[in-house]
Subunit: 478 residues, 2 copies
Amino acid sequence: MPDAKPLIEPRILKGFQDFLPEEVLARKAVVDVCESVFRKYGFVPLQTPALEYLETLLGTGGEETNKELFRLETPEGEPVAMRFDQTVPFARMMAQYPDKLKAPFRRYAIGPVWRGDRPGPGRFREFTQIDIDAAGSDSVAVDAEIIAVVCEIMVRLGASDFCVLVNNRKLIDALLEGCGIRDGAKGKHVLRVIDKLDKVGVDNIRLELGKGRIDDSGDPIPGAHLDDKTIDAILSFIAIKGDSRAEVVEKMREALPVSERSTQSLEEMTQLAACLDALGVPVAQARFAPSLARGLDYYTGPVYEIAIAEGRFGSVGGGGRYDGLVSRFLERGIACAGIAFGLDRLMAALEFLGIAPRISAQSQVLVAFVGRVAEAELLKVAKELRDAGLRAEVYFGNKRGMKHQLAHADRCQIPVAVIVGEDELAKGLVSIKDLLAGKDQREDIADHDAYRKAGRTAQVTVPRSEMITTIREMLGNE
Amino acid sequence: MPDAKPLIEPRILKGFQDFLPEEVLARKAVVDVCESVFRKYGFVPLQTPALEYLETLLGTGGEETNKELFRLETPEGEPVAMRFDQTVPFARMMAQYPDKLKAPFRRYAIGPVWRGDRPGPGRFREFTQIDIDAAGSDSVAVDAEIIAVVCEIMVRLGASDFCVLVNNRKLIDALLEGCGIRDGAKGKHVLRVIDKLDKVGVDNIRLELGKGRIDDSGDPIPGAHLDDKTIDAILSFIAIKGDSRAEVVEKMREALPVSERSTQSLEEMTQLAACLDALGVPVAQARFAPSLARGLDYYTGPVYEIAIAEGRFGSVGGGGRYDGLVSRFLERGIACAGIAFGLDRLMAALEFLGIAPRISAQSQVLVAFVGRVAEAELLKVAKELRDAGLRAEVYFGNKRGMKHQLAHADRCQIPVAVIVGEDELAKGLVSIKDLLAGKDQREDIADHDAYRKAGRTAQVTVPRSEMITTIREMLGNE
């Protein structure tokens, strides 16, 4: 072998994924549901490239370097990177095509994003994000519609054990203001502590809001050093629950000090509750949760998070209202509300709930042969099946025996085989085999003679004109 | 403005594309047709990441460096690159998952690929490829099925002015061998010349096969220095035409010297013709074209190219039979036949043929308001419309007047508006406006009173219970 080259090990990058046929089809089925709900609510798709100029992604904060970016250069030597989300490219498009994309505008985007994060179970460096954003409105009716979209998608996917948790950044601001916390850094500290409620429990939260605590591994966690009265106020606020969204708002009204900020935020929540009711979103599907704090820094109003099997699975995504879309590119910002969820995370959630779509990728019928049969004859049979709307494939492996043909059908889980034989062909007959019924006895069948001798009921020989009807019956039985 | 940051110019990389809503939906419609035909023929989807290890993409030929690759590094410093096609990743998967992916196997893949090519009109650095490959068979029945798949897709897309050109690398080899050309370099030179037939015409081909010529810009093109008899033999072979595929094969049989190679290649073409006939592919859709030479170096048997509006548009893709899939990763190769076409190129072809799908991205109904109406009331109307299966959106821009609402509908080409007014709401009525009918007079309407005074027939006020029926009627009129 004079030109033998060393072989390359076939391997995939850490944190990246290959998808097998059933996985691709299941993901597509979920994406199709999302898209049809998006369109029903007036969201339209935009699509942007994988690569953006580095400055587009980083913003103008020169010192702000994102270590997670996959960076590269164009052939011209310009610094670019793979997009890490779909919001920045959306903002770029809104700024770049002001004549074509005018606010108010609702768009959805579904595509891969890349982050050079530390990979782990369920954490990927390439993952698919599903985003919807509504640009150009201050109204919480828009937030309500976004929440309704998510609920309708989850219901259409067959989920019942889910809830969109809803809060409002302005409520937390009003609460902290009422407690006399106007120091930005301390406010953020408190938010970070509240955010951990589900993970560490209320007793630890109390310690972290006070003098601090020692965590399980013995490391000290510094406290926020609030006084007991303030801690009690915060803890009782984030513990508020109610049978209806309106009831939660009323309890929050009682708990919050009267101020311009609290009045405005309570008014928003009242309106949001009315809008969710109008859209027919049950309380069980969208709950006001005063403890929800998800990265509140970034948000300016309502925030939401999609919780699956609460306390047992976690979140598949979230979002909220934010200002300053396009402010990186234009003087004026655009008010915006949006939500993003991870398709990979959503698939894992559906798997957890036992409702992941199972779509057979494979053909419904294998056209097999025995003896000397021209390939064109097999193709004619396949064409007849396909014309009748069936997914059919001709066996075309280089190993020709019946054993290999049936092993292929078995591996691919093809339920029915049409077996074209030389003699039958001359007589206008075909044999049709129910592969699922005959499964236990299939291994031994090496040729058609042995196969016929076995007299299996799972096989039937019919005139060619009855082929389609017979196959439909067999497929209907499964 | 103490923290004002300089603005970033919103721009897209050269050779990359943004897609507007109608473009995304048109592309999706075309992809959906492709996928449904693929599945009907037993092809199943695989999906691989954007990035692969550099060695996977380059092969083991160390000196063989591909300048078109977009290269980068993982956070761990490993050299990787964005995939430039979908065939190498397919081969990688076949080698990496031998238990899950066993030949015979037919897969399709639809996704972006990246090449740092010189961009130009219709030439992109990021473009979407649609690939099907059938691995594990030597039979030309597989080539016939691939050609039939392409034809069925084109017909389902509404095309009639297309033809899959089919040739066989072995025929050209046999022809050259018969002419005494066994020198590999000379053979390749001849192939490159033949490949230019459509572009430069037969007279120039004759010169290039002989002593060479001077091209339009005065540059010399060296000749292949064949003798006149050989040139005549080649030119008459590549000019062969016939009314049926079988007739073309017969004429080729007459033109070719008898040899093992010519006998085998003619036998393949005879069988391929029979298979195409069996699959019902008309001659007008798949023609044997002895002059087709597309990069024959790479291929080992039949080759095909999808020609659109021959001589006026060009090709949207092509493929053929190749050996050595996975041979980069495993000792044994896998025989394979496949075709790839560019979605971007296909969309341009459909546009050229005047049959590009036009799919309205926008809502069918805008829920607008006049006077003081609670947003929740608008959402209730929207919910009713959506529950009836209509795509509906509530106007939610910050500019509230009727003028702005109707301007939004106009911009988005929403055909119908439901106008919810305070008075009507109390009486259980809604106004429904046919926006396309009233288009010429719409500019002047600044408020609801003026609007009512105009007494336009394109508007009707009906009881809420008749809303859906009325809208369906209006939509049906368009």
